[in-house]
């Protein structure tokens, strides 16, 4: 590179210059990354932020030469005086894992289930350091496990991936990535598949690494809270372009690009309490005669499995009144979705009472139970999976009307159009198929279907967690809007406390199938009584670097004491 007159800064360990990535699909090329440039300095954590399709992951994979065959990459990626894009596959392979290593999103999928984690770490070590003996590799593995704060590292070596928690698996992955003292660690959404409290644990480990190892970290994420927690500098990407690059505090205090501002605004925050109360059409005291829309008493749900029964829900009691939004919050495995599914008749009712819209499940006749379904709408988490891919949007939205209201022909068409209109989708879109819509649009269709019969109760199971933040915000606004207009009660199942604060009136917190706390929103979020709730509230990262730093200090101080 004789033409390159740039003085190479010794502090820059990785420099991406004018990177272009195109994918050629069926003869047409789609640009994924458009002249992106950024540099990673020694010892820093650089966050690459963007929504899905922004090119953040693609640009990182391009650095490693891990893109599929149909990708065309141009530009320069400089590392250690070489341009990685000009390297032969063999040279690149030697570099990967040794100089630059990656941590992927889903740790349980990235570990091989038939080998112990110790064997897998040793394998990585011996692959890159042929001279290393078995005993040396083992000793190094223990050292690595200590580095990522795995408790009792010697014993952990003999564990299989399924014997470790998700957070521990991710720490093993980080240990593996650090095995050969890489100069650069690329973490691609390292905590997205994890629960908040576990995410916290992994973020703490990553944070602590900065003092312990040489590696600079490229953190790819969509979560502004994670950015605030970990990053030193931030690169914001949109539609394949870098829209802003700034130190973290500067970015959060004074975002320059309009898109960055929009992204920060879209992060769900608490609505002022009075605004929310004004929104609720019939708060609490509408007379004792009014029956609750959903009443769950001492509910127990057990799933039979090969070895005994698994108790998913254990003695939960809660109620949702007319016009109220109750948030059911918990981490994965807490039984929150099971309660929703049980109310929908999709999970076995082992013991206890569930009364939906005046009908008691398991005691009233199947006919009455089926009748009651008309008065319940449901929105699931993944809008791609919850719409039949072979039917048009209008078919899906109109089906409950066709079956339960007996609407046909023109009346059906008109009502379907009105419903699509009410979720702010153009009426002409009825003829489209789900795969032709974006995630947010699909979720709008699912909402239109759920409200088609003007339900008394809407059960929303993580309706926004599969969506990008900016889309999530609009869908939440829409849901709040429609709820206000139609006045239905809503059981809102989520793991995300920030979303709860934006929408809900009351909160019920679940852990391990049991209800740990229930109360008004302000009470639960601002003054949580239960230690688990406190931990949950503290673990949810907020998009404010100062607040995150303060929390970490508190937490670490607490751990010392």
């Amino acid at each position: 590179m004789t033409l390159d007159t740039r003085t190479t800064d010794p502090d820059v360990v990785l420099a991406v210059e004018d990177l272009h990535v195109e994918f050629v699909v069926e003869g047409r090329s789609h640009t994924a990354v458009r002249s992106a440039s950024w540099e990673l300095r020694r010892g820093e954590v650089l966050a690459v932020v963007g929504e899905s399709g922004s090119g953040k992951s693609v640009s990182a994979m391009a650095v490693l030469g891990l893109l599929p065959r149909n990708a065309r990459v141009t530009g320069h990626v400089r590392h250690g005086g070489r341009d990685l894009l000009t390297l032969a596959p063999r040279e690149l392979r030697a570099l990967r894992g040794a100089q630059i290593s990656v941590v992927f999103q889903d740790p349980s999928a990235a570990l091989d289930p038939v080998f112990t984690v110790g064997q897998q770490v040793v394998e990585v070590l011996r692959a890159h350091r042929p001279g290393m003996t078995r005993a040396e590799a083992r000793a190094r593995a223990v050292e690595l496990f200590t580095l990522v704060d795995l408790p009792d590292p010697e014993a952990r070596l003999r564990f299989y991936p399924h014997q470790l928690s998700g957070g521990q698996c991710q720490r093993v992955m980080i240990a593996m990535a650090l095995a050969c003292d890489p100069a650069v660690l690329i973490a691609d959404e390292p905590t997205t598949a994890l629960d908040v409290t576990v995410q916290q644990e992994v973020l703490d480990v990553l944070r602590a690494l900065r003092g312990r190892v040489e590696a600079s970290i490229v953190l790819i994420t969509h979560d502004m809270g994670v950015v605030a927690d970990l990053a030193d500098r931030v690169v914001v990407m949109r539609h394949g372009e870098v829209v802003e690059c700034a130190p973290v505090q500067e970015l959060f205090d004074a975002p320059r690009a309009a898109y960055t501002r929009a992204l920060l605004d879209a992060v769900p925050r608490r609505r002022p309490a009075d605004a929310r109360r004004a929104a609720a059409p019939a708060p609490g005291g509408t007379g004792a005669a009014d029956r609750p829309v959903l009443l769950v008493e001492e509910l127990v749900v057990e799933y039979r499995q090969r070895r005994g029964a698994v108790r998913a829900v254990d003695g939960v009691t809660l109620r949702v009144d007319r016009g109220e939004i109750l948030a059911l919050v918990g981490e994965s495995g807490s039984g929150k979705s099971t309660i929703g599914r049980c109310a929908l008749g999709l999970a076995p009712l082992t013991a206890g009472r569930v009364q939906v819209a005046g009908v008691q499940l398991g005691r009233d006749t199947p006919r009455a139970v089926r009748e009651s379904r008309k008065r319940v709408g449901v929105v699931f988490q993944n809008p791609m999976a919850s719409l039949n891919p072979r039917r048009t949007v209008a078919d899906s939205v109109g089906e409950p009307l066709y079956v339960h209201s007996g609407l046909r022909g023109g009346a059906l068409h008109a009502r379907t159009g009105a419903l699509l209109d009410s979720v702010e989708l153009p009426g002409g879109w009825g003829g489209r198929y789900p795969h032709e819509l974006s995630g947010g649009q699909r979720q709008r269709v699912a909402i239109a279907r759920a409200i088609a019969l003007d339900p008394e109760l809407l059960i929303a199971d993580e309706p926004t967690s599969a969506l990008d933040v900016s889309v999530q915000a609009t869908v939440l606004d829409l849901l709040a809007d429609i709820q206000q207009r139609l006045g239905f009660a809503c059981l809102f199942i989520t793991h995300d406390l920030a979303v709860v604060g934006r929408l809900c009136d009351r909160v019920a917190v679940l852990a391990g199938g049991r209800l740990v706390e229930q109360g008004r929103l302000e009470q639960v979020l601002d003054a949580p009584a239960d230690p688990y709730t406190r931990r949950l509230v503290a673990a949810a990262p907020v998009p404010d670097p100062r607040e995150q730093a303060r929390r970490r200090e508190l937490r670490l101080a607490g751990a010392m004491a």
Partner: protein, 299 residues
């Protein structure tokens, strides 16, 4: 909410309605649809009016044979040559279409219907129904296919197109039923099926509108291939003296007669095989094209 974020969800540039795309407009434009359709039209004509087509070269009767021209090659008036008995191969191939195609289609249809019924039952219900159906298919799959068909056909006594189809269907459905079962199971727990059940739709509606349309694809693909396999199986049975018997005419019979003469009279094997291959090709291609056309994601 600021403007940028709102438009991230609703792209104003494609807010218009798309032209309505049904199954037919999609099919009409594809050459790969018309090729098998043409083939199947020809086969249908052969099935309905074999005498007319066979007579094109002046020797339309498959049973008029002249031993003196046994196994002779193509000559004028006999474009495909003669078989060992000195009968016209062209007339025989044309007249054989009906029996072969009928056995292939009847057998596949019976097996398909049985497989969808039992496979769906097993896949959807699980539990006892699943165990019973699975064990029954195990038993049938454990049988050597030909041995089983031989036993069944021997006990039938009578050899008609229907009895041969039934005997073959008995051993074809289990593999298909397993496929239906696993396919249905994978769709059963999909969220759109759960959503349909949560909305209180009846079982029939859930199965016919939501489960089967999404589960049937792989089974249809296998079914089209099965038609060809059945035609070949029928010829094997015939070769063993257990399928259709002369004076019945089928491709299977011709193939089995021709095998012994492959070296000195390859034309006897060539022409029935070409017809068989073209038939199977048409059915498989049509099946493929239809599957793509019925799936909105492929359009």
């Amino acid at each position: 909410m600021t403007g940028v974020a709102v438009t991230a969800d609703l792209d104003p540039t494609d807010a218009g309605a798309l032209p309505r795309r049904g199954v037919w407009p999609g099919l009409r434009r594809r050459a790969l649809f018309w090729v098998p359709v043409a083939g199947i039209v020809v086969l249908t004509v052969l099935t309905v009016a074999p005498g007319w087509v066979a007579g094109w070269f002046g020797n339309g009767d498959p049973r008029v044979c002249d031993l003196s021209s046994s196994a002779d090659g193509p000559v004028a008036g006999h474009p495909f040559g003669f078989d060992r008995q000195g009968c016209d191969v062209y007339a025989n191939v044309v007249h054989g279409t009906r029996a072969s195609l009928t056995v292939g289609l009847t057998c596949t249809l019976i097996a398909f219907a049985l497989a969808v019924l039992l496979g769906t039952l097993a896949g959807l219900r699980g539990g006892l129904a699943d165990r019973v159906v699975s064990r029954v298919t195990d038993v049938f799959l454990g049988f050597p296919f030909l041995l089983g068909a031989i036993v069944v056909l021997n006990s039938f006594g009578e050899r008609s197109v229907l009895s041969v189809s039934l005997a073959l269907a008995l051993f074809v459905w289990p593999a298909m039923a397993r496929l239906v079962r696993s396919s249905v199971r994978s769709v059963r727990d999909a969220e759109f099926v759960q959503a349909a059940r949560a909305m209180g739709f009846g079982t029939w509606r859930v199965v016919s509108r939501h489960v089967l349309p999404n589960a049937i694809g792989p089974v249809l693909a296998i079914a089209t291939i099965t038609v060809g396999q059945v035609i070949v199986a029928e010829s094997t049975l015939t070769f063993l003296g257990l399928g259709l018997r002369s004076p019945a005419i089928s491709w299977g019979l011709q193939l089995s007669n021709a095998q012994a003469q492959l070296q000195n009279a390859p034309h006897m094997l060539l022409f029935p095989s070409v017809f068989l291959a073209v038939t199977v090709f048409c059915l498989i291609t049509l099946g493929d094209v239809l599957r793509d056309a019925l799936d909105p994601r492929q359009r």
